[in-house]
């Protein structure tokens, strides 16, 4: 038991060393003063003259808050749409019996296989014909219920024991009631995963919002931050600071969400 715990920490530290590199690098670059090299061999991991000034300069350079607001709007809508839409579809595919179920599942599976680059221009034309181009709705719609999330939710609902639902059926619960009262709460972990993934994808998306939006006032954060790389000069410290600002909400979200991925604290059936 003791040895097991020590072993665990050794392993944890080992994996830690392998995974946090890029994060530290960005952090370090974003803190470097103007006299320090960004490119050097070997790279300077620790800034010699750390300064938070770069962060202030990012906000001076681009209207980061209004870009962030657009991103937040898009990301939150995306999360809500994905959690609800994917859960509903996943539930039907996993727990309901009907003709055409396999066909429906196939539609979701095949859409996983479509390369986005191949449909980008056609999708842009679809948005134009719907008169949605240059709106945030056009940014959200294509990914608003991602096939990947439908599959994840289906997988989660499949794993639920059928006994509880059978009891509910006997009690006369209809499909919607069983979905909202039994299935959804039990698949909480996966819903949180779907939420995190949706937020992340939407927050990081660059090319599609750029294509579909033409009014810079509607630009999202990733596009806004790429303004930090100008035609003539770009300062890698600013770029790094901007990236850190963009990453921070993702880290916070993960920290807040992570406890839902796990079984209840302390009642672990897996003991060392």
């Amino acid at each position: 038991m003791r040895g097991g715990t020590v072993g665990r920490y050794v392993l944890l530290l080992l994996v830690l060393a392998i995974t946090v590199g890029p994060f530290l690098w960005q952090l370090s670059t974003s803190l470097k003063g103007v006299t320090e090299d960004i490119y050097s061999t070997p790279p300077q991991l620790f800034p010699q003259h750390p300064t938070p000034g770069n962060y202030a300069r990012v906000a001076d350079a681009v209207p980061i808050w209004s870009f962030a607001l657009n991103s937040l709007l898009v990301a939150v809508t995306n999360v809500v749409a994905n959690c609800l839409g994917a859960a509903m579809a996943g539930y039907a595919l996993a727990r309901l019996r009907f003709r055409g179920r396999t066909a429906a599942l196939t539609v979701f599976l095949t859409s996983l296989l479509v390369p986005f680059e191949a449909i980008m221009v056609a999708l842009f034309l679809v948005m134009r014909s719907l008169h949605l181009n240059n709106t945030l709705a056009a940014v959200v719609l294509p990914g608003s219920i991602a096939a990947l999330n439908v599959l994840l939710m289906r997988n989660a609902f499949l794993a639920l024991p059928s006994a509880v639902e059978e009891a509910a059926i006997i009690d006369g619960a209809n499909v919607w009631q069983r979905f909202t009262r039994i299935a959804l709460p039990s698949a909480r972990g996966t819903i949180v995963v779907v939420a995190v993934f949706s937020f992340m994808f939407s927050w990081d998306d660059f090319l599609w919002p750029l294509i579909v939006l033409s009014d810079p006032a509607k630009y999202t954060l990733t596009i806004g931050l790429s303004y930090l790389q100008g035609t003539f000069v770009n300062d890698q410290r600013l770029v790094a600071a901007g990236t850190m600002i963009a990453v921070a909400p993702l880290v916070l979200l993960f920290v807040a969400a992570q406890k839902y991925f796990f079984r209840g604290v302390g009642e672990g059936a897996v003991k060392g």
């Binding site: 296989l113 390369p115 060392g272």
Partner: protein, 318 residues
């Protein structure tokens, strides 16, 4: 029609269902025929309207010699004939296939081990969990910069090996066509660890506690319970992770692009299928017809891959 129906059925079983839910109990109650479709409506509408519908356009273009800026007419199967005779196409297909072989097994196994490692509540565990997730959210450009620095002929890895006296000439991670592919795989696995870890974690949460407790009462140790309770329960998730990682491995772009450059390594030897699509179709004079044909082939090959996985999976069941 018959054939299509069969294909539909097989594809649908790719994500396998545990035996006890094959016949959901729901069947015994009255349920209006359209109820499931109401549940599916939003999802289907989005996927059909904004994904498969635009893709049909690509399918049409695959049979034309259209350029990015329009023009072009139907040319039948010309693009596909050209593909067969295009050595770059075969290199790309080979590389993408190799990529699957290289990254899927580690991506199925390592994140699971990682999930088991961080599952327990230990002091500071939140920090570790978050840290393990950071490669997923780190910008791919920064990831590329770091790995190039690590693997460069004058990079950290080679420097350390040289300092230790292990080697005298540096390992050409970034200049040898094979090692480049291996290096890219390494980055893919590294970046995918945290991602699949959380899928596993969510699944671990649904493993029946009763079974665990029963096994414990029977005196089964940690390993034994892992082997006979946890792993069987996680099997559908493992298949899901295998499918997802295979599909994305076959469509690898960023990692190869960043390490091997836009031309795809020395002489283009490391070009992946999506990179080829991009090379052919980018720019205002891009060859839209040919790149569409390549996209269609990518699509069909991935579909074939799913069917194959499913076939193998089923054999194992017998």
């Amino acid at each position: 029609m018959q054939q299509a129906a069969g294909r539909v059925k097989v594809a649908a079983e790719v994500v396998r269902e545990p035996a006890d839910v094959r016949r959901p109990a729901v069947r015994i109650v009255q349920q209006r025929w359209f109820t499931p479709w109401l549940f599916l409506l939003p999802g289907l509408a989005v996927v059909l309207g904004f994904n498969l519908f635009p893709f049909l356009n690509t399918v049409v273009l695959a049979f034309t010699n259209a350029k990015v800026l329009g023009g072009g007419h139907f040319t039948g199967a010309d693009n596909f004939v050209r593909m067969v005779h295009d050595p770059a196409f075969w290199t790309a297909v080979g590389n993408s296939a190799l990529y699957i072989v290289g990254v899927v097994p580690p991506l199925v196994i390592l994140p699971l081990l990682l999930a088991l490692l961080v599952e327990r509540k230990l002091p500071g565990i939140t920090f570790f969990r978050t840290a393990f997730f950071t490669p997923v959210i780190a910008s791919i450009v920064v990831v590329g910069l770091i790995w190039t620095w690590l693997l460069d002929s004058r990079g950290l890895v080679n420097d350390v090996l040289r300092a230790l006296g292990v080697l005298t000439t540096p390992i050409p991670f970034l200049t040898d066509e094979w090692l480049l592919l291996v290096s890219a795989m390494l980055v893919t696995v590294w970046k995918g660890l945290g991602y699949y870890m959380i899928i596993y974690l969510a699944a671990l949460g649904t493993v029946s506690k009763d079974l665990h407790e029963a096994a414990q009462v029977d005196g089964a140790g940690w390993w034994r319970r892992l082997w006979s309770v946890t792993l069987p329960a996680l099997r559908p998730t493992m298949v899901l992770v295998a499918v997802l990682s295979a599909v994305s491995a076959f469509r690898v772009f960023s990692e190869v692009y960043l390490l091997a450059g836009p031309a795809g390594g020395p002489g283009g030897a490391d070009t992946s299928l999506v990179m080829l699509i991009q090379q052919v179709g980018t720019g205002l004079s891009g060859d839209l017809g040919y790149s569409s044909a390549l996209s269609v082939v990518l699509f069909v090959l991935t579909l074939g891959l799913l069917l194959l996985t499913n076939r193998l999976n089923r054999k194992e069941d017998l």
